[in-house]
Amino acid sequence: MVLECKHVWDYISGYLDDTLPQETKELVQRHLDHCEICSAIFDSTRNIIVLMADDRVFELPVGFSERLHARLEREINPGASSTRKP
């Protein structure tokens, strides 16, 4: 069985996650070995996923942690930081 390009595209995600059945995986692999277009599509998808996982893409707002922990401290331990009883 030979896969057409548009059918191979249905397996991009499964192939990258390595969750395809062995037989399907081999068919996709064989297609990629000789199809430059599908190889470029798979490579670019993988590349984009790698870039997206980088910490620099989605950063917390400046001061987020400080504000969060200050609020937690106030509500979890009310009075602990301000009025200390002897």
Binding site: D10, I12, E36, D43, L51, F64, L72
Partner: protein, 207 residues
């Protein structure tokens, strides 16, 4: 991205917090601040609201800590609380698009990738450039909510498929379908844009 001390250590910390060492809660949640904020932001699409919802979610987690039984990972439990908090706020404000929660757009046809002749790897160093980071952020924002949630958990926070399913209370099969569509949609939008920004490519064209 490494996830700090999952499992047993967390269960011990939780037991200690419930026994009165409440200050440990700060350390318990530190590894998950980013995930929780990303999910509330994804839902609310406004930094100030997302931050407030994230704080509220952590407080709820603290108040309901005794109900965490450890069947799920602590991180996925937190993400579920954060999503609930964000969705409740949307509903309260009447701005919720109910179809975005109930609809199953995965049944509506196939998504096709951008066709390329070849691909020159974009190295991580490219992320030093603000314009590249901006392209990626805009692409994520452009995804339908259901796909974005799955993509953020699985590919940005690198949860497993099973953990993603658990956090979103959807099936593993649904995660796979949405993830596939999100990835292809991002490739379709980003591959041509990134290719254009690739310095090697540009140099090649100029020569």
């Amino acid at each position: 991205m490494t996830k700090a001390t999952p499992g047993r250590d967390e269960m011990q910390m939780i037991a200690a917090i419930l026994a009165g060492d409440t200050h440990l809660f700060h350390d318990l949640i530190r590894p998950y601040e980013h995930s929780v904020y990303m999910m509330t932001l994804s839902c609310l699409k406004n930094e100030a609201d997302a931050e407030d919802a994230a704080q509220e979610a952590f407080l709820k987690a603290f108040r309901h800590l005794a109900s965490f039984r450890g069947e799920a990972k602590f991180g996925t439990w937190l993400v579920s609380i954060a999503l609930n908090e964000a969705r409740t706020r949307l509903r309260r404000e009447g701005t919720v698009r109910m179809e975005s929660i109930d609809q199953t757009p995965e049944e509506s046809g196939r998504v096709s990738p951008a066709i390329l002749r070849d691909w020159r790897e974009i190295p991580s160093e490219a992320l030093e450039r603000q314009e590249i980071r901006h392209l990626l952020q805009q692409a994520i924002e452009s995804l339908p909510d259901l796909y974005r949630e799955v993509f953020l958990l699985r590919d940005v926070k690198e949860l497993s498929i099973a953990e993603t399913a658990e956090a979103l209370t959807i099936s593993i099969a649904t995660v796979k379908v949405r993830l596939h569509r999100a990835r292809v949609m991002l490739q379709k939008r980003l591959a041509p844009q990134l290719e254009h920004h690739n310095p090697k490519k540009r140099w090649f064209q100029w020569s």
